[in-house]
Symmetry: C2
Subunit: 336 residues, 2 copies
DNA sequence: CCATGATTTGTTACAGGTAACATTACCATA
DNA sequence: TATGGTAATGTTACCTGTAACAAATCATGG
């Protein structure tokens, strides 16, 4: 019955036990199942817990059982609507299951990705949801050594570390390009920002569709983040490089909306003069005038599925399907 | 020299030590400062660490030193651009300082807030950044017992638990309303969603401004989340309840943009027929046609300052200023 | 060549909760 | 009353990294 709490630090089970006059084991039993202690103690312990404001400490559990009940989620960015919706999907599943989400982002830098994964692992996360398909050897080594389930999201093509859930970005871009061509567009320019794996795949899809129709692709690209103003800048560049541009396909809705507004300001009629299409189908693209043509992707479902499969793996089930390819669909809108 | 790693779990310091033939204490010394072990050992340890792919474990530290190097951030929502930018500001400061951000959200539910705070504390976070100004007694008790620095963000008015950093939402709403009135608007309707503390303050600011000018306030409200479509719905309601409505002030940009698009679709000229103003000044409001009038708030700076003050407190400094009131400013745009 | 001090490595204990095992208390029945 | 059995509670050890202290090793100068 050693007493601690000399320096008014946060109360421990021992403090509660001291107050009641039992050992901390008894209090621990009460916490897991109140019926495992005698009725009079139940009351006294319950009162003591309340009085002290006891908050459990997960560290001992992580230490002795390697179970943190935390899931690490590592995404390129948090200020991107796409990932915000993925996160919502993930939490929809993890939170009711009693898992805490530890969120981190790496700003599209492979170096930062390594350090973020190390940090998440150092907190003993029970599983990881990461994005992108390409990872450095050090990342692969860390993940293999950690021995926890890992799910990659966003893209469904590359061979996954263990399991991938996403869409076929290349096919989606091909489909939208093909659709614009069928609508009579010939000089379609692709706007690409943030040259990550998925953007490269989309560019490939666009270029393939153009070439399959004997058209010449033209892709404007930058490594910086996409934004509405970047869309406007790209529009100016495109018209300079190819004055008879009649279509614009953007790697995301932000660029597309920026380009569309720039057209409105410049007196260019959309879609009569130029067609514009985006990617992802954010709320705003479904509300604006004119409605934006875009590729609708199942972002929230992607997160939900990733979390569900992770939980299943944590329950000991094996990987059921290495690659889960989710459907996308084209929203025609009024801008094509 | 007891050997573990029988069940190929993640390697510990002991495993590294066994491989080198020293005690784990020696390896621990190397990790903190390589020069504290002899040069030949430096090499051997370094190789062993690499071979095994050792990843440190923070649990013992949390246990014995109550230092997790993690900061809990609790916000109402993550799928809201406002909070995404706050988070970016926070991470801009915390990440270089070696702190991991543990993000959680509670969907505007006080009950969920309690449980999220308990969870964050159970992971031994070193400090907390939370939002809103009203908290239940249980939350206040938990925070006081935890004995860690807490900073409240978003609003600068209510008496903080320890320290608050935000803007004066009521004054901001008053200023924008006053401005619209000066521009000749008389029948201004307020659109409010997600009735949290800050929204109530903004409504109060709007109502005060209207009354000070002998105008009758009319506020449309709902508890559901704001969205572009909600803005459109509200517009219809407003015109029905008050056909000669000549101004709309929205609690955020999403509602304002939704209302603006709905006007465009309905052939209502903005701002000739109706003025529209939003709140927060998101990227899109600065790019769209017409440019949206809005209240520009220092969201990223708010996060940055909160993190900086938290770090200062973690270094032992006292609270320097209980309430830090950040400036906002009005963006006139083209919609008023 | 030994004493002295500096450098390097080892030993022990601790943080908080819980599994596994040990003990005590209590009641019912022979 | 003794015995058996169950219910209630206590004891010990463990998980990992490191502070604090202890011991061993080495180099240097008298």
């Amino acid at each position: 019955m050693k007493s601690s709490n000399l320096k008014n630090k946060r109360p421990t089970l021992q403090d509660v036990a001291d107050l009641v006059g039992v050992t901390k084991m008894t209090v621990s039993r009460f916490l897991k199942n109140p019926d495992r202690v005698s009725p009079p103690l139940q009351l006294k312990i319950s009162v003591a817990l309340d009085n002290l404001g006891y908050i459990p400490n997960r560290a001992p559990d992580i230490l002795s059982k390697s179970k943190s009940h935390a899931i690490g989620v590592l995404l390129p960015s948090l200020t991107n609507q796409v990932f915000a919706e993925v996160i919502r999907g993930i939490e929809t599943v993890l939170e009711p299951a009693g898992y805490q989400t530890m969120l981190a982002h790496y700003g599209y830098s492979k170096e930062a990705e390594e350090s973020r994964i190390a940090t998440l692992l150092s907190y003993g996360v029970d599983g990881l949801i990461i994005s992108e398909s390409y990872h450095t050897d050090r990342v692969r080594k860390m993940l293999s050594v950690a021995g926890i389930p890992v799910i990659e999201i966003m893209d469904s093509v590359s061979p996954p570390i263990e399991q991938a859930i996403g869409i076929d970005n290349q096919a989606a871009a091909y489909a939208m390009t093909e659709f614009m061509i069928q609508r009579g567009r010939q000089k379609i320019v692709y706007f690409a920002a943030r040259m990550d794996q998925r953007t490269l795949l989309k560019i490939k899809g666009y270029e393939n569709a153009m070439q399959d129709n004997d058209l010449t692709p033209l892709c404007l690209r930058t490594n910086s983040a996409s934004s509405f103003t970047l869309g406007a800048t790209f529009l100016k560049d495109a018209l300079q490089q190819q004055p008879d541009t009649d279509g614009i396909f953007c790697t995301n809705d932000d660029l597309a909306i920026g380009a569309l507004y720039a057209c409105q300001k410049a007196g260019i009629n959309v879609p009569q003069d130029i067609s514009i299409a985006g990617f992802h189908g954010h709320d705003i693209s479904r509300a604006m005038v004119p409605l934006l043509a875009t590729v609708i992707t199942p972002r929230e479902e992607m997160g939900r599925l990733a979390a569900e499969h992770l939980l299943s793996r944590l329950q000991g089930n094996p990987v059921s399907q290495r690659i889960i390819d989710l459907p996308f669909h084209l929203e025609v809108g009024e801008s094509i």
